[in-house]
Symmetry: C2
Subunit: 261 residues, 2 copies
């Protein structure tokens, strides 16, 4: 499949490697800044060979690709898709955003391929394990986007925009918010000269448990025991840090509520 990639951010980077790895052809990469497009194109050509043109001018995006994969920030998705759709009525437009409705694209042929993973530009993730959630505006395009996803991932799931909305919220909780819990812990440790690395065996086991127990069953700590002594002491200790104290209180009460019900 001849693909144009719109975007060169964290997700676009991992996705483009997976596409080339699965022998798809990337004709062109568009990014708002030509440097980002060039950097990504160079990395891909170094690894997989071929030719990839780059542009930062939306009017210069080629018109003859089979698929336009738009992988940019959610707030720009609608506008960029609108600017591209005229003259490309026969091409399939695909977006990769967890929280955006398929109809945001407004093109005749629309699809979603949402690879649910945390992408940092410096890490190229193995795509084959990533759950990819797909949806399309027609049965034929659903098969097409599904086969595109299957060429990269062993874990492809059909999901409507309505259900994907909830999936994305769940992902924010168990990835973004869980990671922020570690970031808050790192701040606490740093201010007492304890290296964050001492936490890794604990964090690893917390994650490993979820492969064999539900998170509710895996819950440990003072809040689930409702050990008011420990909770009270922790809240006291955090009295100079209103933000951490408030998060501590809210999370502890939420744990208690879940386990009482």
């Amino acid at each position: 499949m001849r693909i144009v990639l719109i975007g060169a951010g964290n997700l676009a980077t991992s996705l483009s490697f997976a596409l080339m790895h699965s022998h798809h052809e990337i004709l062109q990469i568009y990014s708002r800044t030509i440097e980002s497009a060039d950097t990504l194109a160079t990395k891909l050509i170094d690894k997989y060979g071929g030719n990839i043109s780059t542009t930062a001018d939306i009017a210069s995006v080629v018109s003859d690709a089979d698929i336009y994969i738009i992988s940019i920030k959610d707030s720009a998705l609608h506008d960029v898709a609108l600017q591209l759709k005229d003259g490309r009525e026969d091409s399939l437009f695909v977006h990769t955003a967890g929280s955006m409705h398929i109809d945001t694209l407004e093109s005749r042929r629309r699809a979603v391929l949402y690879p649910m993973q945390t992408f940092s530009r410096s890490r190229v993730v193995d795509f084959s394990d990533i759950p990819c959630f797909v949806e399309a505006s027609s049965a034929d395009d659903l098969e097409l986007v599904e086969s595109l996803a299957r060429s990269m991932s062993n874990n492809v799931i059909r999901l409507t925009s309505e259900d994907r909305k909830w999936l994305h919220i769940a992902a924010v909780f168990c990835c973004n918010f869980a990671n922020h819990c570690s970031a808050l812990a790192a701040e606490v440790l740093e201010s007492h000269n304890i290296p964050f690395t001492v936490m890794l065996p604990l964090i690893d086991e917390t994650t490993r448990k979820l492969h064999s127990m539900s998170p509710a069953d895996a819950q440990t700590g003072p809040a689930v025991r409702w050990d008011e002594n420990v909770i009270g002491r922790h809240l006291d200790i955090l009295s100079d840090d209103a933000n951490k104290q408030e998060i501590y209180k809210l999370m502890s009460e939420s744990i208690r509520e879940m386990h009482n019900s």
Copy 2:
């Protein structure tokens, strides 16, 4: 070393297996309920042989052990240690609680051995990877408790009660609260018939990243990009669930604040 174990809960269970595995002798297990003590003793004898007596009567705890390891809930620690100390002035008392001061023990010879891990009774964890934080009331006993810890773990660190207090708060954030983020996600998914297992690759990668990046650098998602469209939509979607909505808001603002500073 001849050891008496006071407690038969999650931590005591994992610890007792590690002690026997390292050829220490457990003379006796005390628990408030004789069933818990018996269950644990039977499991240990089945695996390692030997004799272990059990009791639910604090007055029947033997007096001739080298070490009394008290691994019970924090709120009971002081009282139980007080009841045991008379007549055992030559024995070393050790507690295993992350958040409790060493002097809670009040015995002449006091020490702490805090294995920082999340213990669920159904999982026996490999102790060799667990960071163990040790402290004692004398230099000799520090060496003793350190060598006891080293016989079980490759990761033994000296830490004062004052610093351990902060360490324990950090552990609550990156284990208990991070796990609760997954539990909240599981609730969201369950109410839309999406299996929680689809989250595991995302959770695994979130954890793996922390082995090579700081949690602040690893942060992704709408809050760190401060994508108000997505955040606003998520808050709307959660409007029927005040608790999740409040946690979403607080965590997102905290992520933003950390990345602005």
